[in-house]
Symmetry: C2
Subunit: 479 residues, 2 copies
């Protein structure tokens, strides 16, 4: 077994790992990147990119169906060619993966180690028992994988995860999507629009990342108009029936219904890839799921002696599993790992205002820590419904509800939750305002063009501003 | 003739007038609103709203045509039903106008005067020789009308303006659009997508509000791929030929081509409605076109004695003919007219960062004063092409070019010009950043989600940031 001595060892060549490797090198450290699986990021291979590719095909089909409302009539049958749909998804997915591979190839061979890395101690990694890496500091960037209950396994190859969908060569007839989280909602609605019979089933009533009960209720009602969505379904049984899956659900009235699906898509969550890497041989403090605790500002993990040389970034850390956050965490982790290796102090890195988007139609947008992060009695809510909003109505997409939150004491904007057309754009505008620490009054001094979706946001901000103003008037009367 | 004595007289019941009337009342003044034409705003009747309605129908037709690229095949003929298209445009237009009329109806009868107002002197208006209004201050909010060269008149009823388009009951076969400004581009592209043969012809090479030569060249090339656009056309003759118009153009090689059109749509500009209102009997300073000069901060007009009691707002002032600016100007004018009437000082009002959007596809967006407002040698430009931008490519809409400008001395963001998908949203993000006086470096600290169009903007900002950074490094070396 050969032994390498490096400043920084990065485990994982995904978004966070690549970002960490580059940051470590940029900071003047020597670094290696160790990858045990295929190269390519979660985002490009099985996440953001292929899902958006499936969604745009679904939206194309939906748009064709909506065209008669404007006087545009595709007379005759609208044929959705599943082979063509999936061919474009895979082809463009491969193209995006190709960019990542090119990125990886641009890294010197000497800095790339292939194999599965296991900790021997805080500073030592054994890679497939062939190479031993001694590192002054280590970045864990091993990503995450889909998880599901063990009971699902009985479905055999009829059980699939998101990764499998993007390798399809044709569309199936019927899919049960277990879990109305981000992946479940995006894929469920897209498959429905592509003519697949879909049921999106959850437990406990949660829908995507929505925390605000008003927005959640509205979202469930809106999606339910289009496809079967039961966020709190009661599944009596789920079993193989020949080439299909028979799924028996119990209705709220106790009635039972059985439906058959070609596949059950497990979208029940993802877990960090941190098992089987010898973390028990480090001094790290691990949580109940075996994930190292860490400081999001520095990405440094916590250890008993308070001087851990190990950093963690991206989905492996289970903090905010989004590409742009993974890239930031990788950057922070790589730079800090380098600094530590070079005998410099570890620094907090740039963290941005939280922003989350689900690419359903309407989209879901979350800005800030979400409704559940707000302390009751300290904030007010402004609201707008998009059902009668001018531009939305012009577009025949007048569906949506947006809540904005403001701080009663300072008038500061705190965040938003929404189901809205163009939520991806509204969320950027609001996240920038949040990071700029703007008050709601200041936001209302900004330009709003006409006729745009942003005017709906303005309505909500005005509604909130009135409440904040009233609260401050009351406060000054009392004092 | 009866005589009314009021604090504030507002001439015009459009967007600016309604806004001015309300602001004057809110400021505690008595006010009347005088309208000589039909109630209803330019925006709702013949502007932003009906044009967006025509555009969404056009985009629906375009989307049906693009669907096969995603594997979605409308087999058979796509029939564009011109009667249905125009029926929805008129029906929804009438609905939007209805909202305005409801707004107007909510104003007390005593405050509404019908008739054409003419100045007798700075403080006196004669309304249709029936009513004399003595006002402590006056707001001119008479809007604008389409203008075209006198030579066009020979075309008789084959010559139309935008107002006429929105009263169509069916789509014509061929339309020559004179003037590739905002209206000409929006209507020209929309009619083309609805199956109308279109030629958009201009003189001098201008395209919409684009000032940046790179963006203009790119926009011309992009639109020209889709429909006939000649921003610097040479029209040899244009004359009636039965029920149609024969238009002879001279090509750059001297060749001549004659094409027939059902209509010539004059989109050659708009002029303030200030003629025939007796401005010569006031003490106002008028420009060459007879439009009063005024201070955009207060909307107060200039007069020889420096103490004009007359304010001007909206398209009548010919400053920024956009709804949100008209509403702002109306608000400022109404409030200041009231203050003056009540013996209080006139104040500068809130003006917002300039933002302009043209709802073509791709859209045109302008933030700040535009390229021509920048002083050569004081700024740097960052650029992104959307031709290889991830999300744009997913959407099969990877067309676009965006330039962002930054101040070499301070690193401050100065504005942008773009042809881009979702420019309406990018323009809001950038206009807010501009009004917040952000530096380009600060903008890069903001969140950018993935995969979104905003990532293209980030590429341009990074490009700009490198240039600004280099300039500042050089400057510090020199000093």
């Amino acid at each position: 077994m050969k032994t390498l001595q490096v400043d920084v060892a990065v485990i994982g060549a995904g978004t966070a790992g690549l970002s960490a490797y580059r940051a470590a090198k940029a900071a003047g450290a020597g670094a290696v990147m160790i990858e045990g699986g295929d190269y390519g990021t979660t985002c490009a291979r099985v996440g953001c990119m292929p899902s958006k590719l499936l969604i745009v095909a679904a939206d194309a089909a939906h748009a064709v169906g909506k065209a008669p409302g404007f006087g545009v009539h595709p007379d005759g049958v609208v044929r959705i060619d599943g082979r063509e749909v999936m061919d474009r998804v895979r082809r463009e997915r491969d193209r995006f993966v190709g960019f990542v591979l090119r990125d990886v190839q641009s890294i010197p061979d000497a800095d790339r180690i292939r194999g599965h890395a296991r900790f021997v101690d805080n500073h030592t990694l054994a890679v497939d028992d062939r190479t031993r890496v001694r590192a002054r500091s280590v970045v864990i960037a091993t990503g995450s994988s889909a998880t599901y209950p063990d009971s699902f396994r009985a479905l055999g190859e009829r059980l699939i995860i998101n990764d499998d969908v993007f390798n399809w060569h044709d569309l199936p007839k019927a899919v049960a999507v277990m879990g109305p989280g981000i992946i479940g909602l995006e894929l469920g609605q897209a498959l429905h629009r592509l003519g697949v019979r879909v049921a999106v089933l959850g437990r406990g009533g949660r829908v995507g990342p929505i925390g605000d009960p008003q927005i959640r209720t509205y979202a469930i009602a809106t999606f339910s108009e289009e496809f079967t969505l039961e966020p709190d379904a009661h599944i009596a049984s789920m079993e193989r029936d020949g080439d299909r899956v028979a799924l028996r659900r119990t209705g709220s009235d106790g009635s039972q219904e059985t439906a058959h699906f070609d596949y059950v898509l497990a979208a029940t969550g993802r877990a960090p890839n941190v098992a089987d890497m010898g973390l028990d041989r480090t001094t790290l403090a691990l949580d109940a799921k075996g994930v190292p605790s860490f400081d999001p500002a520095t990405t440094r993990t916590a250890s008993a002696d308070g001087a851990s040389p190990i950093f963690i970034a991206g989905d492996a850390g289970n903090f905010i599993p989004l590409l742009h956050e993974a890239a930031d965490e990788g950057r922070i982790a790589g730079a800090n790992a380098a600094r530590l290796a070079l005998g410099q102090p570890v620094n907090p890195g740039l963290r941005r205002a939280p922003i989350g988007v689900v690419f359903t139609d309407p989209q879901i947008g979350i800005v800030g820590g979400g409704f559940h992060s707000l302390k009751s009695g300290t904030f007010a809510t402004g609201q707008v419904s998009f059902e009668d909003q001018g531009r939305s109505r012009i577009l025949l997409k007048n569906k949506g509800l947006l809540n904005v939150y403001g701080d009663l004491a300072t008038g500061r904007f705190l965040g938003a939750e929404m189901l809205a057309l163009a939520a991806e754009h509204l969320a950027h505008l609001l996240a920038w305002a949040l990071q700029n620490k703007m008050t709601v009054a200041q936001m209302l001094e900004m330009p709003f063009y006409h006729p745009v979706i942003e005017e709906g946001l303005r309505t909500a901000l005005r509604h909130l501003d009135v409440k904040l103003h009233a609260a401050q008037t009351n406060a000054s009367r009392v004092s």
